[in-house]
Each structure stands twice: as C-alpha cells, then as structure tokens.
C-alpha cells in the first residue's frame, strides 16, 4: 500500500470568527452555526430539526434566539432560528439565558408543538429519552393552556413492515425525510398536506425500501417513528446500554446494544465520526435475534457410535472425545469462517500450528484462489491503517471493483455517497448501474465478470484516486494483480473490502495456510522461529498448508482424517456439493458453532460457542482499524472459541497457552506484526479474454452475483420484519440477452448450472450482452442451487423449471 501523504485539508489554518453570545466572547471557525457556537460556551439552545449531520432547514423554529447585532451594527427585528444562521464577526447573540424575548419565544414554540402532541409519554417508546419531553421540562411552560380536542390520526401508519409512524406525535421537524434524501438517497417519505393536517407520508404503492430506514427512528426527536420490533417492548430507562460493534459487515460500525433481563431488546447506531458517523444499516440495527433462535446450541454434543445420534455430553467429556479423535486422525485441517474476532481467530491460528501441527487453516468460507491467498498474505495482512473512511471524502475519485457497497458494506456506501455529494467521482466496474451506484451519482464502467483486470488496466486513474477491491475478485484471474499494478502505476491508493466482519481479523491473526499471526510467512524460517519462540514451542510446521478449496478437496478424497470447522455456511463455499461430501467423508469432524447448522448435523463433536453479544473481542474492519467491543450479556454462560480450543489443546497435551479473550489479545499484540521479509506477491496475468465473453453462446451467459444486504443469511434469522423489507429478488440482463434466451421481461426466467437451477422474475437492464445478474442468496442460494459462483457460466431460459 502506498504511504499516506499529509492531507492538505489537515494543515490549512481555520479562519476564526469572533462573536458574543450571552455576553461571552467566543471565537469559532467561519461558517459555524450560531446554535453550535452557543454549545461551545456551554449553552444548549433547545432544538428539534437541527442535526449536525443534516443540512440546516429551520423547520421547527424551536431554537429562536435574539440577535441585537448581526455583526453589521443592526439588529434583527424578530427572534431568529439559531440553527440556520451562520456566525458573523462582531455578532451579538442573546439566547434564553440572557434574553427574556428568546425565552418567551422558545416557550411559545413548545406550546405550539404541544398543542397537537398527545400527552401519552407514559406509553410512548421515546418517553425517557425524548428531546420533546426533556425540552418541555427545561424550556416549556409548566401548565398547559390547551384544553381543546387534539388532532387524531389512525395509528400506527406502517411506512414499512419495520418502521411505524404515529402521526399525531410528529413535530414535523423533517429529520426523517432529510435523512432519507440527504444521507441515504432513498427519499421514500415526504411531508404531505398542509396546515394542521401536515404529516409525514409515503406513497401508498411504493414500500419504504431503504436499507437505512432504521436511522430515522433513532433521529426522530419524538416518538413518532417506532420500530415494529421494539415498539412497546421496553423503556429507555430499564435498558442497560453497552457500546459494541456490528457483526454484519466489514465496516466495524459502532452500535449501542440495549438489553435487559439477559435479552437484547434493540440496537442503535453508535456515534463514531471516524467510522460510521451516526448511521448504520437496517441489518446492523434489526438483525440481532439470530443468536437466540430455537436451534441455538447450549450443551456439547457427541455422536454416539452405537446409535449414530448426537447426544448431549459434559464439557470435559466432549473435549476429551474431540481431543482423542483429533489425535488419532492422520491429516488435519481447520476452517474458521469469517465471523471470528481477532482473539478467537488467533486462537484458531495457534491451535492449528501448536496443537494440531498443521498449516491447513483458512478463514475464507467462499470461492478463493491461489492468487488471492498470496495477495492477502503479501499486501493486506497485518498492514497498518491506510485508506480510511474519511480519506474517501478527500479522494479525487473512488473506483469500485467487484464491490457493491450498498449491499456488501452499507456504512461504506453512506460514506461514499457523502463523498460523492462533495464532488468525489465514483466509478464502478460492474455489469449494470445499480441503485446504489445511482445514489452515489457514480459512473459505470461496463465490465463483464471475469474481465475486471482488463477493464481496470484500461481505466485512466489519477494519483488521488482510491481503488476499493471487493472479495469477489478472488476468483477472477488477474483482478487482484491488476489492482496492485494499477495502484503502483498511477500512485492511487487502494483497500481490500471483504464482506464479513471477521475476515480481516482472521487474516491478521494468521488463519491462512501460508501465514502465521502478524503476517509472518510460513515459508520463512526466521518468521517461524520468531513465532515459535514467542509461543514457547520448539518448532512450527514448515510446509505451507492447504487453502479452503484444497482442504475440501482433500477431505472429500479421504486424504484428511479430521476437520475442525467454525462458523461456516456450506452453501457459501465454492462447491457446496463437494463440501457436503467432504464433511460426510472425513473421519472426524469437530464443529464449533453457535447454532445448529449443516456442519453440526454431520459433526462427530459439536461444541457450542458464544455469539458476539455474549463475548468480548475485537473485529478489524476493512480499513485495518481495530474495533474492540465488550461483552454485552455478561451473565451468558457460553464459552468463547478461545476457551474451547484451549480445552481441546490441553486434552491433546499440547496446550496453546491462552484461555481467555484477554490473554489471546495480549499475546497477539505482543507478537505484533512481522518486521522481516514479507511474502512477495507475484502478479498474475488476466486470463486471455475468451472470445465468448460478452456474447450469448447457446443460451449460456456469464453470471454476475452478490449477496444483497437483506437476504437469506442466517445472521438475519428471527428478524422477520427486517426480512420483509428485502428487495424483490429479480434477475437482470440486457434486453437483447433476454430475447436471445427467449425470456420475456417481467416473466419468470430460469438459470441452470451444473448442480441445478433457480428461477427469478426477469428484468431488462442496461447491461453488456451475455451477462446475467441475480442475487446470491435471496430465496435461493445460487452457490448451492446452480453450483456456479460469480463469473461462472450458466444457461438462461424462459419460464420456470
């Protein structure tokens, strides 16, 4: 990666403006709003519509102040909304603290707002954390003079299955509509009607199809917007709030988890200006019930050889059986999946090397390639933070390769959209202009899957550009090499954006066949000796291990005697059918899982482990930033992966020396990144452009696919209201392609691959010929159904099969 250059915006001196607020002189940067200048001297002016991340509108008029001198010697005749007025040199402002006029104006505004606001705080979800409630107490009149009947609306009005609106509580501040149009770019809701009937509404036939709709609930300053999931479930003051990090994508978004009686009740966006600002996706917000589904594993299970059934066992018993089975097996391998914290991943990395004596370990539960293995080891693992969220705003352009941020990294999408609104150009190498790309005002560089390398090579890239490479590039020969080459040639910076929260953690912790923790190359004797010394073992296995695909192949052919598998969804692997075979045919299968899965069903020993809410840990996001989080449910009895692996290792007689998350973290930090020679990345040539690319050949087309944000993923189980807001799964192809394959737009069409077929409603889109796009896991998992991954070939036919 390139070295971060000092950014010009960081060094330009800020122009200060001096004004007087409540007789206190204060200097603030030019362009500051009066309401925020007042905050600096400790005066909080009441407000509803004002939000630091939204453009000022002055909709609620609550923040009125008196301005006896606007900086030009003349005063403003009436109280002014301080959230829309910028400071001026010599300005004099009197807030409610020193001005009876401002105080009376604010009191009057509150009385107006309360005229139509129901006094139902006792049964309102916002009661206890409500700006209207708080500000009525601090700035409002103590007695209500309004005795007439209040305005009533039928309630609640469902904006979507997830977001419900109680219109009579709304104070028309427009935070929700402004968020949707300014930040998310999904203006589905708007102010309707006039006068007393003015209300937030939505078109009757268009659902609130935004991935970020939950944020409106959080920023609504009253209880008008509620979530179907949380409505009337508990009150702010009986919740215990714990800051945490979302486990749903590689952004590492800060969240706040509210729980009570040992149960998570809701999740809110945390406030981290460096990462997610104050926004999260609906998946981050609403998908948290997955870990308390009925199939949650609570006790260790061991397969009874006589009956062939899994039977509950004690922990010592299960650990002993696991250790015995592993000791007896000939070849061993570990698949960790991409959901681990760095501490847990480190434990797996050490467990494989020290306890199992193998380098057969891989975190990638998806199609991979040798090129990617080498690329990650050489260029990504253990590197310090380079490209950050904030850098995206300062780039001249951002190029997305094999990445659809709206679906795969929602918070990154919001930041890119923000950047694009500030003039950063977004280019996407893809098959079609997605809704996300439209919202980022981006430019499509039409690229047939498989041709990313060539397309990137041709693209003119300026030095201030940032290239974001998605994990789909793994299977495109030469694509990751092209990213590296392009960056070196043009001076652009780049980052690898995986999909899962634990991908980067596992990489840095050494869950790769050619890498020890801290990017120590397995092949380097020095690096091995360094790690071995730290771990207090005489030596470490020196042979580079097998990657995911090779592990599956070896297990299926009977070369491996035992597999240790953590959170892996079999359907996500390159060849799900072969993977199932492998799991079935391997002699001894140990599964560490939170919930029963296709792997636990075949396992010989199932060891339940804690989901993220029941343990502490650290995720590393795509930037390389460490995102530590605390244990939310502290009384939860579940064990961490570290503890379970330590147990097996002790039974094996080859202890890994760490038992707790804290110990693992300390040891991993102490080991630190490798300062010796790193693995060298030998770039690959892109596959020779097949003549067939971009053509329909005998009804066969190239498949472009990714997972949509809200889909069939197991981490969304239980979030039924969220699932109902998923986008309608459709299949997209150009009109010519559809016609060539005999498909009518709007009708069902079927994709067929080696292992079967899947059908969707077809939609015509502006796309290169010979390409079809379909969601990976919306209703049907394409990997399992077709046996084809992104960039593969499928046949497209009309009708349903």
């Amino acid at each position: 990666m390139t070295v971060t250059e000092p950014n010009p915006t960081d060094t330009t001196p800020v122009e200060l403006v001096t004004l007087t607020i409540d007789d206190v002189e204060v200097s603030v940067p030019k362009g500051t709003l009066v309401i925020r200048a007042a905050e600096l001297i400790g005066t909080e002016i009441p407000r509803f519509c004002d939000h630091p991340l939204l453009a000022p509108v002055g909709a609620c008029r609550q923040c009125l102040v008196e301005i006896p001198d606007a900086g030009n010697g003349r005063g403003m005749p009436k109280p002014q909304a301080s959230c829309t007025i910028e400071v001026a040199p010599g300005m004099v402002v009197r807030t409610q603290v020193t001005s009876p006029v401002a105080e009376k104006a604010q009191e009057g505004m509150l009385e107006f707002l309360l005229a139509n606001h129901p006094l139902d705080c006792p049964v309102c979800d916002k009661g206890g954390e409500c700006p209207l409630q708080n500000q009525s107490l601090s700035h409002g009149a103590s007695e209500s003079r309004f005795i007439e009947t209040k305005r009533l609306f039928p309630k609640p009005l469902p904006l979507s299955s997830n977001v419900l609106l109680d219109r009579e509580r709304c104070v028309l501040c427009q935070r929700c509509t402004r968020f949707q149009s300014e930040i998310a770019g999904d203006p589905f809701i708007a102010l309707l009607e006039r006068g007393a009937q003015q209300q937030i509404g939505i078109a009757p036939d268009v659902p609130f199809g935004s991935y970020f709709s939950g944020n409106t609930i959080q920023i609504c300053p009253v209880g008008a917007l509620t979530s179907a999931d949380y409505r009337f479930r508990s009150r702010p003051f009986d919740l215990i709030s714990v800051p945490s990090v979302s486990e749903h994508d590689a952004c590492g978004s800060a969240i706040r988890v509210d729980h009570r009686r040992g149960k998570v009740m809701r999740r809110l966006a945390g406030d981290d200006p460096e990462v997610n600002e104050e926004w999260i996706t609906d998946k981050d917000r609403f998908a948290f019930t997955w870990s308390r589904q009925a199939d949650r594993l609570t006790t260790p299970l061991v397969r009874n050889p006589a009956t062939g059934e899994l039977e509950p066992t004690s922990w010592p018993g299960a650990l002993a059986v696991a250790a015995r089975g592993l000791a007896a097996a000939a070849g061993k391998a570990v698949l960790t999946g991409g959901r681990l914290t760095v501490e847990d991943a480190y434990a797996y990395a050490k467990f494989a090397r020290v306890a199992l004596g193998t380098n057969n370990i891989d975190f990638r539960a998806r199609p991979t390639s040798k090129e990617e293995t080498e690329f990650l080891a050489a260029k990504v693992a253990g590197t310090p933070v380079d490209v950050t969220f904030a850098d995206l705003e300062r780039a001249t352009a951002v190029v997305l390769v094999g990445l659809e941020p709206e679906d795969e990294a929602g918070t990154l999408f919001l930041r890119l959209r923000k950047a694009s609104r500030q003039g950063v150009q977004v280019f996407a190498l893809g098959t079609h202009t997605t809704r996300g790309l439209t919202k980022m005002n981006g430019t499509l560089v039409p690229t047939v899957p498989g041709q990313e390398a060539a397309a990137l090579a041709e693209l003119a890239v300026s030095p201030g550009t940032i290239i974001l490479a998605g994990e789909r590039l793994a299977t495109i020969p030469g694509a990751l090499s092209a990213v590296a080459t392009k960056a070196t040639e043009s001076g652009a910076r780049w980052a690898w954006v995986p999909r899962r929260a634990g991908d980067r953690s596992a990489l840095d912790a050494g869950c790769l066949p050619n890498l020890l923790p801290g990017a120590r190359p397995v092949a380097s004797a020095e690096a091995r000796a360094d790690a071995a010394a730290d771990w207090g073992v005489p030596s470490l296995p020196d042979e580079v291990g097998l990657d995911t695909d090779a592990i599956i192949a070896a297990a299926a052919s009977g070369e491996l005697g035992a597999l240790v598998v953590a959170g892996v969804d079999v359907d996500d692997l390159a060849d799900p059918a072969l993977a199932r075979d492998a799991l079935r045919s391997v002699d001894f299968l140990v599964s560490l899982e939170v919930r029963a899965s296709a792997v636990t069903a075949l396992a010989d020993v199932v060891l339940p482990v804690a989901p993220p809410v029941e343990k502490a840990g650290t995720f590393i996001n795509w930037e390389g930033r460490q995102r530590p989080f605390h244990q939310v449910l502290i009384d939860a009895p579940a064990l961490t992966d570290v503890r379970v692996l330590a147990g097996i290792a002790e039974e094996l007689g080859r202890p890994i020396g760490i038992r707790t998350t804290a110990e693992a973290a300390a040891e991993w930090r102490e080991l630190g990144p490798w300062d010796g020679k790193r693995i060298v990345f030998r770039g690959r040539k892109p596959a020779a452009a097949k003549t067939a690319a971009g053509k329909v050949v005998a009804g066969r087309v190239v498949l472009d696919t990714w997972k949509q944000l809200i889909d069939g993923g197991r981490l969304q189980d239980g979030a039924d209201f969220l699932r109902q807001t998923a986008r309608e799964p459709v299949l997209r192809a150009s009109e010519a392609t559809l016609t060539a394959c005999g498909v009518q737009p709007g009708q069902r069409a079927t994709l067929t691959g080696p292992s079967g077929s899947a059908s969707f409603i077809a939609e015509a889109a502006f796309m290169p010929e010979g390409v079809v796009w379909a969601p990976t896991n919306s209703g049907v998992h394409l990997g399992a159904a077709l046996g084809v991954a992104h960039g593969g070939r499928v046949s497209l036919t009309g009708g349903e099969r």
Partner: protein, 184 residues
C-alpha cells in the same frame, strides 16, 4: 425521699384508673373472629381491572413495575393478535406478578398506571407460609367477571375503535345533579 402524697395517695389513684377502665368498652379487635371493615381507601391487595366487556385494561406498559419502590412487580407485555385479543389496542400484559413479600402497599403503582388497570382493594389478608404463594399471578389479581363480561381472549365488543374504550363508551352514564360539584 418521697413525699407523703407519693407514698400514700398515688398507689390508690393508680388502682382507680384500673377500676374505672373495667367499666369501659374494650378497644381490642377480635381479629380473626370478627373482621372490622377497613377505611374505604385502605391500601390492600391489588386488582387488575377489566373493561365492561371483560377485556383487560392492562396494556403491559410496565410503568407500575417502574414506579414500585420495592421492585415488587414483574410485567411482560405481548401483542394482541387477530385471533387472540386480551385488551383493546395493541398490547396486553401477558405475565403480571406482584410479590407480596416485597410490596409495601404504598400505592405508587396505582398512581403510575395510565389506564387505571391497576387499583387496590381493601383486602389485607396477605400472609402465607411459603414464598411462592405470596407471588400473585395475573389470575390471582384479575378482577372477577361481572355480569356481561366475557373471559378474554375475545374481540372488542364495545366498539371496533379502541379509543372508544378509553373515552368510556358504553359505561353506565352517571347521573349528576346540577349545581356545584362536591369534592369527593
């Protein structure tokens, strides 16, 4: 040294009090053989009230539990469904418990209840020999079904609009005499 009065007169005076009391009506109550009614607003066992059609008034809002200084109340709300309706509106109290080993009968919960679902009766016999019996469940606390009331779950019988319940629709109209209202 005590005076002559103290030595001679005071003992006689003392017995005089005893003697006079023998002819007075005793104040001792013969509980439990005779039960004296409490003051009308005595704070006794709680009651969960019903609407005139038998639906429950409690909406499971937990405010009573929050108001309770002794942490004696446990509530778990749930949503009414089309086929299973316990109260008008969206929510009802699925689990409702008061632990009378903790309750100090202060009545703060009654003040907190936004629906008048929770009130107190005059029943004061709250003693038992085991803990479990003193944790009153919803069944123990629900008001008895009066004539015209049906045991929930059932649909809203008074009106399709739950607001009508809160506005008091179909409740017997109370005759008021014209003239200044008397404080009750």
């Amino acid at each position: 040294m005590s005076t002559l009065k103290e030595t001679l007169w005071d003992p006689v005076a003392g017995f005089g009090v005893t003697f006079r009391t023998m002819f007075k009506k005793p104040v001792t109550e013969k509980y439990p053989f005779e039960k004296v009614p409490t003051a009308p607003r005595f704070h006794g066992r709680h009651q969960l009230n019903r609407w005139p059609d038998g639906l429950e008034k409690c909406v499971g809002c937990e405010l009573c539990a929050w108001a309770c200084p002794a942490d004696a109340i446990y509530v778990e709300g749930a949503s009414n469904t089309e086929d299973e309706r316990f109260s008008p509106g969206e929510r009802y109290g699925r689990v409702y418990q008061i632990n009378y080993l903790r309750c100090i009968l202060c009545g703060l919960c009654i003040e907190a209840c936004p629906t008048r679902a929770l009130t107190m009766t005059n029943e004061y016999e709250l003693a038992d020999d085991n803990r479990a019996a003193l944790i009153y469940e919803k069944d123990d606390l629900l008001a008895p079904l009066l004539p015209g009331m049906l045991e929930p779950p059932h649909e809203m019988l008074i009106s399709d609009d739950h607001h009508d319940y809160y506005r008091g629709k179909s409740l017997p109209i109370v005759e008021t005499t014209s003239g200044p209202e008397t404080a009750s």
